[in-house]
């Protein structure tokens, strides 16, 4: 294809613009990584832009040396996996049902779901409900309350509605029931939305800090986010704002500051979930039902 000079210039500028934009997005993260591998006191002099000036792993050691970090990771990974899988399964089942016009009481259920989008229970009633359900200080407080989300149901429902009715009808003619159609027709055709919503749910679980803060006091049940916040608080109170209690010339003190711990903490929190993104990326861009109907 021959493109004109003007188009070439436009493309060039386009690439330049997108490159600059990408850099603006990526650079802050990269700087965080660089600072997390740099000695804390040295970082305080400023001037670290791309690479660590005084390399150290001490910031990460401070985080990973704790005995409770394994518990916290287990809780976080556990709730992310269990919570996301259960949530996606239940939400998609509900949405699949609601996408069918033949479902009785569909409007009432929709209305009930919509109400939850506009009005929340409030902190105290929610606490009382969790208490009566025995969810306080339990692992399931991370999972059960987040199983259903009205917005996710509606997104799934819209997606299922867009699936060709002929597919379902042909499956029904072959003797499939609703669950079979859901599992063997709707699910495979809806992988992009499952992946997207699964990722949203997983990120939500991974980042959630409030559940543990409000409803959990058992220390062996706190997730990674809460533990990292604790480490940050501790470092801040004990080292940074040390009010002169710190022996600054001792080797252990030079490398770790609240700021450097914060940077390492950000990396520890963000990296695992960032690693998942590339594997799900293809689902975001893939066509939904291209080629599903032939002949």
């Amino acid at each position: 294809m021959i493109i004109s000079r003007g188009e070439k210039i436009f493309q060039g500028l386009n690439y330049l613009f997108l490159t600059v934009l990408s850099f603006l997005f990526i650079y802050p993260f990269w700087r965080i990584v660089a600072l997390s591998f740099n000695e804390g006191y040295d970082s305080s002099r400023g001037g670290i832009h791309f690479w660590p000036r005084a390399f150290t792993l001490d910031n990460y050691k401070t985080i990973f040396v704790r005995s409770d970090i394994l518990d916290a990771y287990t809780i976080t990974i556990g709730r992310t996996l269990i919570g996301s899988i259960l949530s996606i399964l239940l939400v998609s089942l509900l949405a699949y049902g609601l996408s069918k016009n033949r479902l009785r009481g569909r409007k009432a259920i929709n209305m009930m779901l919509i109400i939850t989008m506009f009005f929340s229970g409030g902190l105290i009633p929610t606490y009382l409900l969790f208490k009566s359900l025995g969810l306080l200080n339990s692992f399931w407080v991370y999972v059960v309350p987040l199983l259903y989300s009205a917005s996710s149901v509606f997104i799934f429902r819209s997606f299922f509605r867009a699936l060709p009715a002929e597919l379902e009808e042909s499956a029904m003619i072959d003797g499939a029931n609703d669950l079979t159609v859901y599992a063997k027709i709707a699910f495979p055709l809806s992988l992009p939305i499952f992946a997207t919503m699964g990722l949203f749910s997983a990120v939500g679980h991974w980042n959630d800090y409030m559940m543990a803060t409000l409803y959990v006091t058992k220390q062996d049940l706190i997730p990674m986010q809460s533990l990292l916040m604790k480490i940050l608080d501790l470092t801040r109170s004990n080292k940074g704002a040390s009010f002169g209690m710190v022996d600054l010339v001792s080797e252990t003190r030079k490398t770790v500051t609240p700021q450097s711990i914060k940077m390492a903490t950000l990396v520890v929190v963000v990296m695992p979930i960032m690693c998942v993104y590339p594997f799900l990326q293809k689902y975001f861009v893939k066509g939904v039902i291209i080629g599903s109907l032939k002949g």
Binding site: S44, R45, G46, L128, L214, T235, G244, L248, R253
Partner: protein
């Protein structure tokens, strides 16, 4: 057949009623009071000398950041020697939310220690109103040591329940007490630069000007970058202003006149002095706009001659500088004073409690529980108890040095120096010092850097004891309406006045500022505060 059913029903009803009555009579057992406790406790002691079961105390620390490992030596020691098993849990969320949720749930752990402030104290008193916790007045009277670092009138105005006047909280307020407060904020000057220019640390604005001029003229660039004779962050410039305004508020002795730092008659002289520094190239051009990282980078690169701050950023800067040259450091400098004006207050001790302890009614229903817990707390309040709970059993972690002061063993010091509290968390030391009391005067070697120790004398003058009047008097609707608007205005006017080209212009701008503050609520806020103070005094 019918008669048989009737008989069975009758027996069942009587049985149920008897059970219910017995249960009710058990529940009627009241919480112990100090006067009744001696008789109730002496009976079992005389008849049954056998040791009681350990007192199990489930204690929740709201707002804490760390609790010790579950099985730690100190908990074991307390179990064996004090027959008490303190099981600590913590929640580190928003204190008010946590307390409100417990209030709504009607369920409070045996003992709670919470971070005190106006909101949390009010919620705690609602716990008292709801009957979730017990009043402690009689116990506080029986064990006066528990409040030995407190001020009774302050406690009454701040903590006591407004409805029934009872104290449901045992305020834990040691760290800010006048006897032990550390001097943590003040001026810093670059020591090696002072030596280079052959001058003493400044004590007045004129001396400061001369020192900064000498820095500007005689100190070479640092790493190719020009030096900054003086810089301040937000805390610094506000505190430097106190040289002229005394503090962020200035209440006259007779409580009839009140000025804020932004509308103080002396504020003009501050503006003029800052303008003089600026126009002579002695003041950092970014002093109003710099971010914390920028400010820290200037300090840590050793380019600043004079500033004001806490030890935190200065420690960090000194850490970097001293690594290269032990003489390259910032040292605390005395307050800058003006003859005829009051001593600026850069830090104030007060009786405010950082934390408070409350005891649940459920726990206190067994009178002996409350009695034993209060006995333990009273032991905690003694020098013996505080020392042991804070430092562990003598000889185990801390030993007496030649001067008779306790200091950590070298291996313990190495652990403590890690600064991650892992030692405290594994041993349990400090954690069970529920009152957070220490021994006054101190019997331990005080930790701290050389600069920190220097500051204890250099900044001593700038530390005052807060009057017990201004804060407890509270605020009103005028404050709520205007304060948020007043606060940011000062920086705008400061920028105009300090960056003015001449002294006359700076004075003119400051006068305009004073007029402006009159229009945006300063008189209303002042009048309201004076009225509240007056009402508070009449109470």
């Amino acid at each position: 057949m019918r008669k048989r059913w009737k008989a069975i029903s009758l027996v069942l009803v009587i049985g149920l009623m008897t059970t219910a009555l017995m249960a009710c009579s058990n529940n009627k057992e009241k919480a112990a009071s100090p006067s009744s406790s001696s008789s109730s406790s002496s009976a079992p002691e005389s008849s049954a000398p056998a040791k009681e079961d350990p007192l199990v105390v489930n204690m929740l620390l709201i707002g804490a950041t760390e609790i010790p490992q579950e099985n730690n030596p100190m908990r074991q020691w307390l179990l064996e020697n004090k027959n008490i098993d303190i099981r600590l849990t913590m929640s580190n969320g928003e204190v008010a939310d946590q307390m409100n949720m417990m209030l709504a749930g009607g369920d409070v752990p045996d003992v709670v220690r919470y971070v005190t402030n106006e909101v949390s104290n009010s919620i705690l008193n609602k716990w008292g109103d709801a009957g979730l916790i017990v009043p402690l007045d009689e116990w506080l009277e029986k064990y006066p040591n528990l409040l030995k670092f407190s001020d009774k009138s302050y406690n009454k105005s701040v903590y006591a329940n407004k409805k029934d006047g009872k104290m449901y909280v045992l305020p834990v307020n040691f760290a800010n007490h006048p006897d032990v407060i550390k001097k943590v904020v003040g001026f810093f000057v670059k020591e090696d630069w002072l030596k280079q220019v052959g001058m003493e640390a400044p004590t007045t604005p004129d001396e400061l000007f001369n020192v900064l001029m000498a820095f500007k003229e005689k100190i070479a660039d640092v790493d190719g970058k020009p030096i900054i004779p003086a810089t301040f962050d937000h805390l610094g410039r506000q505190s430097f202003m106190y040289t002229w305004t005394k503090n962020w508020y200035n209440l006259s002795e007779d409580h009839k006149e009140l000025y804020w730092w932004f509308n103080h008659p002396q504020i003009e002289e501050y503006m003029v002095f800052m303008n003089k520094l600026y126009n002579n190239g002695l003041l950092d051009r970014e002093f109003l706009t710099q971010q914390p990282d920028q400010y820290q980078a200037k300090l840590s690169s050793g380019r600043v001659g004079f500033t004001f701050n806490t030890h935190g950023p200065m420690d960090m800067a000194n850490g970097v500088l001293k690594a290269g040259d032990a003489n390259n450091r910032y040292v605390p400098s005395v307050p800058i004073r003006i003859e005829g004006l009051p001593m600026p207050i850069h830090g104030a001790a007060n009786y405010n409690g950082f934390e408070g302890i409350a005891i649940s009614k459920k726990f206190a229903e067994n009178g002996r529980n409350l009695e034993r817990l209060m006995e333990f707390l009273n032991w905690n309040a003694t020098d013996e108890g505080a020392l042991l709970l804070q430092n562990g059993v003598e000889g185990e972690y801390y030993v007496k040095n030649a001067e008779g002061l306790f200091e950590p063993k070298p291996e313990v010091k190495a652990e403590l120096d890690k600064g991650d509290k892992s030692f405290e968390m594994s041993t349990g030391i400090t954690a069970y010092n529920l009152l957070k009391f220490n021994v006054v005067p101190s019997v331990t070697v005080e930790p701290g850097t050389e600069e920190f120790k220097l500051a204890q004398s250099a900044w001593a003058e700038g530390l005052a004891v807060d009057d017990n009047l201004f804060n407890p008097a509270g605020t009103g609707p005028e404050w709520d309406k205007h304060w948020g608007n007043l606060w940011p205005e000062i920086d705008k006017w400061q920028a105009k006045a300090v960056f003015a080209k001449t002294e006359e212009e700076a004075r003119k701008i400051t006068k305009e500022m004073l007029e402006h503050f009159k229009k945006i609520g300063a008189p209303e806020v002042t009048e309201e505060k004076l009225r509240l103070i007056d009402e508070y005094l009449k109470k």
